[in-house]
């Protein structure tokens, strides 16, 4: 199979309006992916499916990732005049990278027996602009998985034939796999609490009787 750089070059030649980026992966597997802007996500995916050299006819899975707002610290060297002498001083600059939701597609080719090509789409933010194109018209198998991503992360797929909750009930409010989802406090007795459960458990233990103050 072609490298991601080759795919990217051919995509940019075929679809000049698409903004495509090859994302590095720092983990041990090192599997890189193609990040495509939401507007041209559908046309890029259609190209990947129909192209004679790629023929990625099988979407094996769809996943959601929640990236909350993150504070990035950056060290910048700034020249400052200290006691009449010019010195280089390090300054810490803080930036907040706004959060977004990401949907990851793993694409394989059954006909040419190669893959995967990992495709990522990102929403604008996590609050009100969580729209992404649905790839269900291209790969029918993505239908339920996109419903699951909608159910648990709140990504709204336009062009999806039947976007409803699939795992949670219809009356459910919120998206439980988001990092900032707070489940209802229904803690119960745990015989051996530990870690997060212990922290939660301590809130519910009866207050310890105060030791009597001896005169």
């Amino acid at each position: 199979m072609e490298t991601l750089e080759q795919i990217k070059a051919r995509l940019e030649a075929a679809l000049p309006s698409a903004k495509i980026e090859v994302l590095a992966n720092e983990c041990a597997a090192g599997e890189r992916s193609l990040l495509v802007d939401a507007a041209s996500g559908f046309t890029v995916a259609k190209f990947l499916r129909d192209d004679a050299q790629l023929k990625l006819d099988y979407c094996s899975n769809v996943t959601g990732v929640d990236w909350p707002d993150k504070e990035l610290t950056e060290k910048i060297k700034v020249k400052q005049v200290v006691d009449g002498v010019e010195k280089e001083v390090e300054e810490v600059k803080k930036n907040i990278r706004p959060g977004y939701l990401e949907v990851v597609y793993h694409l394989y080719s059954m006909g040419l027996k190669h893959g995967p090509v990992v495709l990522r789409l990102r929403t604008e933010n996590r609050a009100d602009k969580t729209h992404l194109p649905s790839l269900t018209p291209l790969w029918r198998g993505a239908e339920f998985q996109e419903r699951e991503v909608y159910d648990l992360y709140g990504v709204i797929f336009y062009g999806h034939p039947d976007l409803r909750r699939i795992l949670m009930w219809d009356e459910f409010v919120g998206f439980p796999m988001r990092r900032d989802y707070i489940a209802p406090d229904d803690f119960e007795y745990e015989p051996t609490p530990h870690d997060e459960v212990l922290v939660e458990a301590k809130k519910h233990y009866p207050a310890e009787p105060k030791a009597e103050v001896k005169p």
Binding site: Y181, D186, Y189, P206
Partner: protein, 203 residues
Amino acid sequence: MIDEGLKSELQKQGVYVTTLEDLYNWGRANSVWPLTFGLACCAIEMMAASMARFDLARFGAEVFRPSPRQADLMIVAGTVTKKMAPLVVRIYNQMPEPKYVIAMGACAISGGPFKQGYNVLKGVDRYLPVDVAIPGCPPRPEALIHAIMTLQEKILAQKLTGPDRPRHLNADVASEFPVPAYGPHDLEPPKNDAVWHPTVIKR
């Protein structure tokens, strides 16, 4: 009520006497019909228990019925998610009296490894009166057989008259349980206080 000593003395002479209560309970205890109903991996063990190797038929409980109208016993085999819980209660309500519940495995008892999750019911005893609980993840088929034997002992010990008589002989006690509704984050109500008696923390 016949005296136990007289009963055994008569038996030695080849005369068998019994009470209506014993006969009634004996008949019920040896034809427990479970409902064909599995929620997760415990159901695999339940199927194994009913097949040739473990042979649940030896205890009169092999007739798994596909309809709640014909079943006596609900084996809650597996994780009860909050989405599934109202349906489990509804199926239980559809079963005719007398009816029993076995909570099979850690999930049905308490939520098991998924207890702290947002989507799993912390034990089916919040909505249903559980007669026998089987620990294990999943319990072996022998454990399920033991649970059915325990249930049979429980049925054999039931009195048909008096204040302790079982629910199906007491017209004052309801045999149906309220079905919880889906709420915005949890089931409403999250538990049925008439059924559920929580663990009291003693420290």
